[in-house]
Amino acid sequence: MTAWEVFLQQLFNGLLVGSFYGLVAIGYSMVYGIIKLLNFAHADIYMSGAFCGLVLLGFLTPYIGNAWLGIVVSLLISMVAVGLLGVLIQRVAYRPMLKAPRLSILITALAVSMILYNTVMIITQGQYKPFTTGLVHESFYIGALRMTETRLVLLIAALALMLMLHLFITRTMYGKAMRAISLDRDTCQLMGINVYQIVAITFFVGSALAAAAGIMAGVYYGTVHFFMGFLIGLKAFTAAVIGGIGIIPGAMLGGLLLGLLEAFGTQIPFIGSQWRDVFSFVFLILFLIFKPNGLLGRIESERM
């Protein structure tokens, strides 16, 4: 392959993986913006989404017959189901802790995360599960870029979801309420906004997007695993920090950027792909040192 082909290929890979990071990062960022919580369980919600999708696919595809239609239907049902799971977690584990010291709510988040992945681990007995979709991976060329239909659709779908979320946040009443709550929760309550309802909606949307990312990652990589959320959770957090945590366009931008950084970073001869995960962590630390507010972040004095 020529350098140009490698460049195009890595550009596409970076954007695709980056859009998964972005979708998960949005959930971190939204929850952080609204209740200032680092939701550790978010990565496991992503994983739950992938498994929920896998189970549904197994049931639905034989009835529906069409592979793509099956994926779309399972994706939508999983998004709703996992969104509700997110709301449930929020209600049981986080809402009672909102007034407690920060350490307590971080520990509950950790506990929820462990409950989720251990449950899936026991059900799947810790095995990698093939994510069978029935899709045919035929490759074709767009210019110098080798491409499959699946990957193209995945990238478009991820970007479409991000666009829909952006419209939801900027154009609807609920989006406006979310933005208001992230600025000042107490005042919002006084203004008659049902804060708990908006927080629940935030969890629903964030979890649904994570579920979508989980299923899309399942389709892309072809296998799912109970621990698949761990690293992507970390990277999504990095993406959220890169873009400026709490800022939703920042999370999308950060995700795409991190995907590209990884794709091109692992091409540097000295850094092989086995260092990919270390590489993105180094980026997290560098960003925390030099640009802690992220690319789109406002400068503000932080109060605990």
């Binding site: 584990a93 026991i122 260092w275 995960d277 270390v278």
Partner: protein, 334 residues
């Protein structure tokens, strides 16, 4: 809400018994008598017990050391640390590499491993603690995974196979290679850790940690440098972990990346939270429970972690101050 919980706690007979016990140990005389009796018993124990008991008790002491180390970070300073096993790995691998590759004496590796932990702690803590305290949680979580990947990828750490042939410590010409030697070694280490914890708790630095934990803004207004004070907690706690890791490496003589998984960090955290963050006897109790529980109930196997996670969740929801909480501080705020 807070009032009703307070009431529920006073009529809870279990809670009441714990409070009584707590009051009892608040007095100096019974506490010292108990401590002397316990020390004497633990010194005597290996002389009349099986290897199995010695092994378990060594494990208990080891856990007490690491839990007290984590307690400095989580309990005293109120920072969530999710990659404690990584610092433990830093110590273990420092000792492991120096003694198996370069043939350095075990005792000389101890200061080196503390220095390594301090450097790692600074690299992670300094950029993170300038920001919100919560960032530390996820950065340490990442660091835990990164250390595991790094030792797996490097050749000097033996890769995924791990490091073998770590030399046993030699003391006055005697090679320490029996389990009973390590029993006493970890016992002494645990006593040192308990002593240092108490001294730190009552020191100026210790009071500054508690102040920051209770009210960061007020502490800052009183002239406490929040960032550097937290960084001290993080580094001192990390050094504890590294030291325990070094001795662990010498005990096992072989270490692999899988000895330092995320789950170990969680177990240590669970012990600290279970016993009562910040309270030294509570943390010791937590360490004992977490170590002994799996030994007593091996058959629950795979459900163990779920049970632990549920316990952690319920503790946070219903008894956030732990089994044996600190009298003031965390408990009064909740």
């Amino acid at each position: 809400m807070a009032e009703t919980k307070q009431k529920a706690k006073t009529i809870n007979p279990f809670g009441l018994a714990i409070e009584k016990l707590y009051d009892f140990f608040d007095n100096k005389t019974p506490r010292y008598i108990f401590m002397i009796a316990m020390t004497a018993f633990l010194i005597y124990l290996p002389l009349s017990s099986s290897r199995f008991t010695q092994e378990i008790m060594t494990n208990v002491f080891f856990y007490i050391v690491v839990c007290l180390g984590l307690n400095i970070i989580v309990g005293f300073a109120g920072l969530l640390h999710l990659g404690y096993a990584a610092f433990f790995a830093v110590g273990a691998y420092t000792t492991g590499i120096l003694s198996s590759v370069y043939g350095v004496s075990f005792w000389l590796t101890l200061p080196v491993s503390i220095v390594a932990a301090v450097i790692a702690g600074l690299a992670i803590g300094a950029p993170t603690l300038r920001l919100r305290g919560d960032y530390l949680a996820i950065v340490t979580l990442g660091f835990g995974e990164i250390i595991r990947l790094t030792v797996r990828n490097l050749s000097i750490t033996g890769g995924a196979m791990g490091l073998i042939g770590i030399q046993r410590p030699v003391l006055f010409g005697m090679v320490l290679n029996q389990i009973v030697h390590f029993y006493y070694m970890f016992f002494i280490l645990a006593i040192i850790a308990i002593f240092i914890s108490y001294r730190l708790h009552d020191s100026r630095l210790g009071r500054a940690w508690q102040y920051i934990r209770e009210d960061e803004d007020a502490a800052s207004a009183m002239g406490i440098n929040v960032v550097s004070t937290r960084l001290y907690a993080f580094i001192i706690g990390s050094a504890f972990g590294a030291l325990a890791g070094s001795v662990y490496a010498a005990k096992m003589t072989a270490i692999s990346p899988e000895s330092f998984m995320f789950i170990h960090s969680v177990m240590i955290l669970l012990a600290v939270v279970l016993g009562g963050m910040g309270k030294i006897p509570g943390v010791i109790l937590g360490a004992v429970i977490v170590t002994l529980f799996p030994e007593l109930s091996r058959d629950i196997g795979q459900y163990r972690l779920i049970i632990f996670a549920v316990v952690l969740l319920l503790l946070m929801l219903y008894r956030p101050q732990g089994i044996w909480p600190e009298r003031q501080g965390i408990s009064s705020k909740l």
